[in-house]
Symmetry: C2
Subunit: 249 residues, 2 copies
């Protein structure tokens, strides 16, 4: 398929320590899917320059675009901007228009630490947002965003209109409560074989102490998606269970 591709790099000791539950991946994943962008990889690395620089360079080369989250605040452990500059081999400079906004809004509270949030790699463009004065930035195909979910979300919304788009990737799902994966696997594989242009996934769940399965068809071919949904729905009905149409999750 010719959809643009994306990766997410989470710069996050707090994720690796288990302190914080990441919620940014799911938000970005849904956001890019709506634009027809295929999310193909996520990595979480610690706040170590060599690890960040290496991952930025690997991922920006491998995919149409890279989103990073985390590490662009004012404290000593916020090292993403300098690492992205190093990855691109350019200096980290004060972005004067951003510094001017900070001075106007924050007055004498602007200190060296806060000005770090106006530092960007040479050639970067700020990603403005409604949640904070300090912007993210885009350099090349790399979009550098905050780690705090509400700020990240605002930055992503600001960025979305300028991202390259592909044919929208849609999902169709049906649930079968009481259906066991192992009972339908062979017939499900036959449906997958009839729709090679789609990804058919099977996801078991347990609800009210009963196992069930969600069958998800994913792709860009709408008539095929609808036909596959009809077949997965019939597959569940054939198990003597009432299929429940619904959201993929």
């Amino acid at each position: 398929m010719s959809n643009p591709t994306a990766a997410i790099l989470i710069i996050g000791n707090e994720i690796l320590s288990g302190r914080t539950q990441d919620v940014n991946v799911q938000f970005i994943a849904k956001g890019v899917a709506e634009l027809g962008i295929r999310l193909e990889e996520v990595r979480v690395v610690p706040d170590i320059p060599a690890r960040i620089i290496g991952a930025v360079n690997e991922l920006r080369a491998a995919y149409t675009m890279l989103f990073t989250t985390g590490g662009i605040g004012p404290t000593h452990d916020d090292i993403t901007s300098e690492c992205v500059a190093a990855a691109f081999g350019v200096p980290l400079l004060l972005h004067e228009p951003t510094a001017a906004v900070m001075r106007e809004r924050w007055g004498e509270r602007v200190n060296d630490a806060r000005l770090r949030m106006a530092m960007m790699p040479e050639g970067a463009e700020p990603i403005k947002n409604e949640a904070s004065i300090a912007p993210g930035f885009t350099i090349g195909n790399v979009h550098v965003m905050a780690g705090v979910p509400r700020i990240m979300q605002s930055m992503f919304q600001a960025l979305a209109p300028s991202l390259p788009r592909g044919q929208r990737i849609e999902m169709r799902a049906v649930h079968g409560i009481g259906v066991l994966e192992g009972s339908i696997a062979a017939r499900l594989e036959q449906i997958q074989a009839r729709f090679p242009q789609l990804d058919l996934g099977s996801y078991p769940f347990k609800r009210d102490e009963r196992w069930g399965v969600t069958l998800v068809a994913k792709g860009t071919d709408i008539p095929a998606l609808d036909a596959a949904l009809a077949e997965t729905t019939a597959l569940i009905a054939a198990e003597g269970v009432a299929p429940m149409p619904g959201e993929p999750d």
Copy 2:
């Protein structure tokens, strides 16, 4: 530090599509931290053999151990076991003791699809669990677990006693509601400089429409952790805010 290291590989189209919110990373992250194992990387890759095989081989070489989640069920999209076998260059074989348990428990419901869950790379040892009959498995330093959280958790608990351990990595945290990161960044950096054996992190949050910051000290040197906590607590108090001791999150 000489703590053992770990990575997590999530085999998960459902994470990359945004359909599913991952919760396995945080569970494993907390679990290994208690054992003194340092989680150093997480990757999410799609259900594509070359991607899985490549990531397994990269990560098992780079870290003391690798945990994988997802892709060991009975359906066509469950391809983790065969990919791990390929990564190790060994055949995928029916694990007879597991197949025997399945036949005993499931009787004539045992079909080819369900027997796929008894297939393991040659030389693998099953990871038994209380949530399902189908086990995970360990081969070399790679621990292959289910993606369904309750099954994964049961497998991790079964596995934990046999994992190599290091000195326990502890955290000390203090919250300051109304404290802004940019105001304390310089002094926080000085505290970090005085405790080079610790990782000091600063994490902004918004609660009841007020910004605040959580300062987290992480490491294995308990006296240093307690001393650093006293200093970060004093730093928040110096801002005219009552420090709130508490959990890191």
